[in-house]
Symmetry: C2
Subunit: 373 residues, 2 copies
């Protein structure tokens, strides 16, 4: 694997936690929403096993918020997605694929409904701010659209609930999955959600008072010491095992939600107002010709992909692998594959083109591993 | 300076030139429009002096194009900018600041007018595609907005014209600054502009036939051997010396074009239709309170900034440095500073907060160095 240095630049924002993350030995980073995101600490494997057993703090400040507030806020949010939000409740988090006029995926934020007329879109890696603003202006909607200064900190792993309860009281335990509420910290209300970019349960603290970042981290660290707390980051192995897709890697605006198996977030018939509806109806009626599935494949442990891998039936290209990793639990390479209809059935054998030649692959239905919780 | 590895990820696109750039010893990279951009090769100083004397090939595939085509194309482009485009001609390149409804800067692309109803916006680092699409949909404009597969290759340095003429014929020499035309290469028409993110003159080849990338690079390399051609990249030293701003580093959507001294691109009175006009008129009438200026400062050679540096008058904060670098030509640290009105006059002394303490700074009027051409 080729090593590249990431050039320091004020264009890629450091976060209120960057120094703390550095001190914990983060070695490798990415730029996500033009913000630094650590991606590994020392040994990837050690961090993976630690995450499955204990509790970690993740600096996910790169999950930027797009705030939409005003009389037409709910209308604008619904314009952007085929998911029916009419019954969404204040205090709820919702996974919401956003599509453009041709049905292409623009982002897949978690929407936090803060009030009937106020939402945060906790975004993946594209400028939803510009999309939402462009629509608001074009449609003359009565809303404000802006990026508040929020730096989420994730507390993840099987002991996350224990740690959170130590610091914020037993109330946090009552939060259901994908619910949020406010909890006091040093006299200041913090928005805390039971959520996180993983499958084993955890919390995200949407810190909007950056002054508190250091003391929040320190307090979590102290409470977490008996629980063997460590610094961590969204874990590639664990996310692929858990079947979690990553915008930009696994799908982008050239893919639609039907191809990405987001049917359960596509209330195409009930929601009459969203942009891209006509395109998605056409796609559904004509039928899609490829689908994002799981794949396992043989060979040496796979390193993080720098580009997509070709998938073949003999010499015939039938798709591409979007992300892949070696699973220490399954002792196999696993990943996601955008695969043609002819080969998308579970159990189909395919060939994967890797640097050294071709490996034997098999189409799977993620998640690859269901956590014990 | 802390070294960070850039994590390989299919979310950050490699380019048709990445392997060639790697082979030439690129060491440090950034993610720009979710695309790999090399930022240094071996010694930064050597590359700098080479650029000032010879000719370099830069992989600037990260300069993505947003194509806007259709009956309402000119109307949409004009909606996005205060610059008067009514007299723009086909074949012209124009530097065009884009602003949002509050006058905040969204991007500063080079607009290429391909036809009366067809434009490319060659963008800096933000998703103009989403902004343009959102507006087009909201205003029901009769346009297509999409990202064509174009990978610009820059040929830069004082010998660029000689090299380009060797490969494409003397016709390229007739291109005026910020003009483009089509030149045949292997039977295929290539869009070539006299432009580039630097001040010493050069060309950009907007390659839209990716299959030709390897042979194009190879041909330029062979023709360039007697001219001492090397691989290079947008050069931080040279861009700051030349007074060129970088979106995301030096300004962003919290800054407006008056603060950034883009007055000559702001035909606020003549252009009645652009978004943000009311805000900019208000800003102009009330008067701005800070401005993006140059600054020189004492101390050890400055490394690329990871975050903005505070600027002070005694203990009183009066601004911040957005980018800075050691100039080997001027033997001084130079950079850009967003500075309050009280201190924005050229020649004003200020204090710059650096890691080791405070340095003596002086407000300047860029460019710092005017190239001999």
């Amino acid at each position: 694997m080729r090593f590249r240095h990431l050039t320091p630049s004020s264009r890629i924002r450091i976060t209120p936690y960057s120094e703390l993350i550095d001190a914990q030995g983060a070695t490798s980073f990415t730029s996500y929403n033009n913000t630094l995101l650590a991606t590994s600490f020392k040994s990837v494997n050690e961090v993976y096993w630690h995450l499955r057993r204990h509790v970690q703090l993740w600096d996910v400040s790169c999950e930027k918020q797009v705030e939409i507030v005003g009389v037409d806020a709910a209308r604008l949010v619904q314009l952007m997605t085929p998911r029916d939000l009419s019954r969404a409740e204040v205090g709820q988090c919702l996974y919401v694929p956003l599509v453009d006029d041709s049905g292409g995926l623009i982002n897949d934020p978690i929407v936090l409904k803060l009030a009937e007329d106020r939402f945060w879109l906790s975004i993946s890696d594209s400028d939803v701010l510009l999309w939402a603003k462009g629509l608001a202006i074009g449609f003359s909607l009565d809303v404000l659209v802006f990026e508040p200064d929020v730096c989420p900190l994730a507390v993840q792993g099987p002991k996350a609930e224990t740690l959170m309860a130590l610091l914020f009281g037993d109330g946090v335990s009552e939060l259901k999955h994908f619910q949020f509420s406010f909890f006091e910290f040093k006299g200041y209300p913090l928005l805390i959600a039971r959520s996180g970019w993983r499958k084993q349960g955890g919390f995200e603290i949407y810190l909007d008072n950056i002054e508190l970042a250091g003391i929040l981290w320190e307090s979590l660290w102290q409470c977490g010491e008996p629980l063997e707390v460590q610094a961590g980051c969204p874990n590639l192995i664990e996310r692929i095992e858990g079947g979690l897709l990553s915008y930009g890697s696994d799908f982008n605006n050239r893919d639609n939600p039907l191809e990405c198996r987001f049917e359960k977030y596509c209330d195409i018939d009930n929601v009459s107002t969203f942009i891209g509806r006509e395109s998605l109806i056409k796609q559904r009626d004509v039928g899609i010709t490829r689908r994002l599935m799981g794949v396992s494949f043989s060979g040496d442990p796979c390193l993080p992909l720098e580009k997509r891998l070709g998938v073949f039936d003999g010499s015939f290209p039938i798709g591409y692998v979007t992300s892949a990793v070696w699973s220490p639990s399954l002792k196999n390479n696993i990943g996601f594959v955008m695969i043609n209809k002819s080969h998308w059935d579970i159990g189909t054998d395919v060939k994967i083109e890797v640097a050294g030649g071709r490996e034997e692959g098999c189409i799977k239905d993620p998640p690859f591993l269901v956590p014990p919780l």
